[in-house]
Amino acid sequence: MNTEESPFFSGAVRYWWSFCLITGISVVGFALSDTLGYRTIGFLFLTGVFAVGSFNTVGPVLFAAGLSALVWNFVFIPPRFTFAISATEDLLLCVGYFLAAVVTGALTSRSRQHEQRAREREERAQFLYEILKDILEFSRPKDFLSRIAIRIEEHCGGECVFVLNDENPPARSAEYQVFGVRGRKEQTARMFFKGWLGADQRELLELVCQQIGLTLERTHLERRLRDTERLEESERLHQTLFNSVSHELRTPLTALMGFASALEDESASSPEFRSKITAGLQDAAGRMNRVIGNLLDMSRLSSNAMVLKKEWHDPSDLIGVTLNALNSPRQITARVPAELPLVEMDFRLMEIALANLLVNALNYSDAPVEIEVLAGDASLRFAVRDEGTGISEKYLARIFEKFYRVPGTPTGGTGLGLSIVKNIVDLHRGEVSVANRPRRGAEFVITLPLGQPPALPEENDRE
């Protein structure tokens, strides 16, 4: 605690204490004056002045030095009970005493003050440090503000409330002192304090408010930046959705409507024509379904609520389910080794990733497509290969970007398929890469890390 402001040591009280001490020593000295010489009593007074010095500022020390010199002279130095001093040597002694008392008392007092300041500085530094720690520890302003308010109450005594700009001040706010919590540019909150504050404490609290102000301003700016980024991304997503709805969905829809009305046409009754129409209908509907699926997958992946459901799965089961769900009339060759380790993955998401690679390969070429699973020591690879025209090298780097579409590719995509793949593989801490194959076509490879699969139950009862 800060002694300078404490009422116990304030103002006139200090002089009163000095007076009492010197009077006490006088009484004791008087009682012992027969056995002790007056010079020894001088030392007692000097000790008293030191004592005053170690508790007080310069004023009371001077007061104690002067008072004790007078008392010593009047009561003890012969001739006693007069201010006169008979011996020249006693006169020198008395003057010397006074000077020594003043100087040493003042020195003691000053060194004590230094010490006190240092302690106060340390306390302040500690206090500020605790507050910084609170700020770092709690990311939500509401949390660290309530914590800091408690610290301030403990440190300064009183009642402390932080009120953010959009909150109401405490009841009977006129009884509080108000500190503005501001950063460089704007005030983000106010601090209400009810209780007595010294100048030092006030200064300290202003410093704390400044620190909090800067922090709040920074978190506000960060949040605003994040919001802007998110908004931009969601605007792009909306734009893509809009484009998709207007183009990617309308195109197959046009086909659906066209084929449907063709069915009404008399001339379309030949079985050959009808089978073409149904194939067209199914194709268009499938395309619409894929576009909708992509948009839903992407919005699900970009929402923060996405939870990965990782379990140990059989990679060949994944291939089987993916191919079965895809149900493509086109030939897809699957090369799957008989013995494969279990891989920890979110089955549904990996199914989406593989299906997207396969659909991509099927869409961009009419040539055969194959999928191969390769097991290494520490990783498992899924390779999807086509025999199309490949991808121009300059576009390879951007191919997994959201919304990116290689110029000159046929329509029917949202530019989301491959970025969905990348998103899913990233969630699995895996890698996805693309390269052109030596002769023709492209190869996409998903690499997933292999872990240590859990143990299996024993099975010894063979039949």
Partner: protein
Amino acid sequence: MIVNNRILVIDDEASIRLLLKINLEARGYEMIEAGTAKAGLELAATVHPHLILLDLGLPDAKGLDVLKELRLWTQIPVLVLTVEDAEHSKVELLDAGADDYVIKPFGLPELAARIKVALRHRAQDAGADAVFESGDLRIDLAKREVRAQGQAVKLTHTEFELLRRLALSPGRVVSQEFLLKDIWGKHAADNGHYLRIFIGHLRKKIEADPSKPKHIMTEPGVGYRLL
């Protein structure tokens, strides 16, 4: 012989009802339709359908609640039509007593196959077939004999128990949780990898191409289906 061909469709979408009517009647079923949950529940009690096709997105009640209400008094097979492709909701549907589910958009051949399975299953409930036969696969449950591609297949005890449980509900999803608990005991409910390993073993023994299974089909996150 009683013909089990009366199907009640509860769906608020008139175009879907029309589509189903054309297709179901073409396949020899009689279709009764309801556009709301209330009308559906009334019809279910009065016309005695042999199967109910229930859409989950009804305007006047939650499909799941309709299913639960039906299950209070009847065991009529219920096939659920849903747009929700999330695993947990499928499990929820099976737990609430649905016989099967079909995700929208669905193909008519798929729906027809599911309807057939659900109706046949009810017909067989009294005395389950001791023999399951499908394409190149033949399972004699009583003799514990399995033949695939014309060859006798040797299965371990666990493999056979697994296959038997699938064969007892042919064409229907058997939930992962049920299989784990029934074969390995209650504590094994979270050890899905047991099942995946043994399903893998089984496929190697009975499927012509284990990576393109034709008999043991995986329903991701839900369970397995024997075709």
